[in-house]
Symmetry: D2
Subunit: 203 residues, 4 copies
Amino acid sequence: MRRLLLTGFEPFQQLAANSSGDVAQFLDQKEIGGYRIVGRVLPVVFEEAGSLMERWMEEVTPAAVLSLGLAAGRCEITPERFALNWQEGPDSSGSACPGRKIEPEGDAAYYTTLPLQRIVERMKGYGLPASISNTAGVYVCNYIFYQTLHRLHRREETLPAGFIHLPAGHTLLLKTEGLAYPSWPEGDLIRGVSLAIEAMGAG
Amino acid sequence: MRRLLLTGFEPFQQLAANSSGDVAQFLDQKEIGGYRIVGRVLPVVFEEAGSLMERWMEEVTPAAVLSLGLAAGRCEITPERFALNWQEGPDSSGSACPGRKIEPEGDAAYYTTLPLQRIVERMKGYGLPASISNTAGVYVCNYIFYQTLHRLHRREETLPAGFIHLPAGHTLLLKTEGLAYPSWPEGDLIRGVSLAIEAMGAG
Amino acid sequence: MRRLLLTGFEPFQQLAANSSGDVAQFLDQKEIGGYRIVGRVLPVVFEEAGSLMERWMEEVTPAAVLSLGLAAGRCEITPERFALNWQEGPDSSGSACPGRKIEPEGDAAYYTTLPLQRIVERMKGYGLPASISNTAGVYVCNYIFYQTLHRLHRREETLPAGFIHLPAGHTLLLKTEGLAYPSWPEGDLIRGVSLAIEAMGAG
Amino acid sequence: MRRLLLTGFEPFQQLAANSSGDVAQFLDQKEIGGYRIVGRVLPVVFEEAGSLMERWMEEVTPAAVLSLGLAAGRCEITPERFALNWQEGPDSSGSACPGRKIEPEGDAAYYTTLPLQRIVERMKGYGLPASISNTAGVYVCNYIFYQTLHRLHRREETLPAGFIHLPAGHTLLLKTEGLAYPSWPEGDLIRGVSLAIEAMGAG
């Protein structure tokens, strides 16, 4: 069966939970949309996350790649259109990237190869608010997203590959007093990602 | 069996759905926490809502009163502490209240008689983000809230009575393109209100 | 000449500047609207701020009292209508107030005795966005506001007294990387408070 | 003297004022940073704005191009790094662009050729909050920004060219009841843009 590499992230900064890693872990080994899911959790550290991603691409030889991240503050599930050639900000390693191109010779941006419209329509059809985002930021989320597309571009491979930002899960708010982020029950986040994977497989 | 008057509101302004009315309707005639629920839906019109509330209080002779409202933009279920003696803003009647006291001779504010802390703890214990709010605004939500407490104060009655603001339901976002409010699946909103009623009944 | 006690606050928590204290200090000893200003800066500590306020009221015997606070996140200058009988939250003393009435026997709330509408109109007439707020929170700002009105109520005095929340000054954003609050140049904040004092004196 | 084409936009949608057009108009014919400013105001209509921009580039033969736009909701002046090859949304013509590439054969994105870091440092040095943004949206602002950079790329010209988003001016809030956007006095916005132009000329 075709494999789909599904990644999420660990908790980071002051946030005590990360819905993206929880979903990736939960769906590991499941069969969805004709894919067997290989679920993995990345640290929120630029280069370390990049190396792990590189290694898993070699090991898993996936037919599709979907990376997830937490977008604290967003109200909907948002698949991303553009991966930008820029990285900036302090990561969980304790050091801060002052702002530079991810790939000095890479394109300024790449388009996702996910079927964005189909993904969004499917989630909405099942009752989950979703919309396309044009911006994945310039943090580790975008870094992983850009790296993956740059790799496919360089190798002239055409897998469906991309990034989806998730709202926080209720767990995050329950663990941290005084946090005001939109949040969803974890079950809805898992269901949303499953629907996205089905839409990827239906292509 | 003791009756609990549970009210919510109709959709208003540009918002195509109102989770508070949907929940009140859904829970009508259910038995929760030792109460039989009498669920009713109010129009978002100051005086009309006030008159209906008054009439239902007479008809239902409730042992407890819980009013619900939509707080578009809030991330949690928030029971309210203070009802303020002020009403202001355009309502669904098409006219706008320019700002005045609800009861010229009433107190500046009343405390809710709901067990706020117990309600919040119960919802959080079941996985739903919740916190106490000190401010129900000065719109029709606060108007109903103040009227109810003023009536009890005037009659020296001591029922548990108060107001809970709900986040939007997913339905609202699905019905309106481009709306960015935190939203929950309707099932979570219903569950949250049921837990609040159980906490009221457990006193 | 009549004296007006004008208070602001020190910087607190992670915020490296507090526009309210800066304005109070800047206007100290100025003559505005028929008042000589006595400008003072309070620590963001519940009881300590309350004691200082009490002492200054005795020393200054003011004809009017205006307290200022920073409302990080607000876009306008907002005079407050209601002071609530509630205090809650961690202050700069290092300890956290778990939530209790400020005055166990005091009213649930008091109305300000400031001419709110006249103040807002005057600021807008001079080009500064302003609107009335119904909520000063339940932190040290509201604490000082409530204490002052409770004192006047207890003594049956009828001075113009109240609270105005200010947006951040540009300085706060310049001092702290990555802070996203609406901010104004300090000169506009000073001008706004002067206009408010003129409106108070014009009564 | 070298000419700098400076553009802003007309008011659009429900917003009764547009600080970007006001600033462009105010600075028209001024001499700043070794440039004579040619200030122009664009309609918020995709193709029409594009055609005007094209014509002005021919007429003015500028040595530098700076386009301004209103970013209602932003707290700082934000020069933009990336122009994205995407346009979407309803414009002032009454029709809505459903989402498509601006230039089917163009790059996914271009980097600005403005000295972003120098611009930001100069504004902050003069007391104005500023930071680099990575995202100009996918509306008419980004459309003009992308078109300009695509034209320079196609012709292999290397002018300093780019886009700066401004906060709202106080005027916008004063003209519209109930709008809650961060706003600055218009003088600060003019000063910020002048400082940016000085930084462009200092290269």
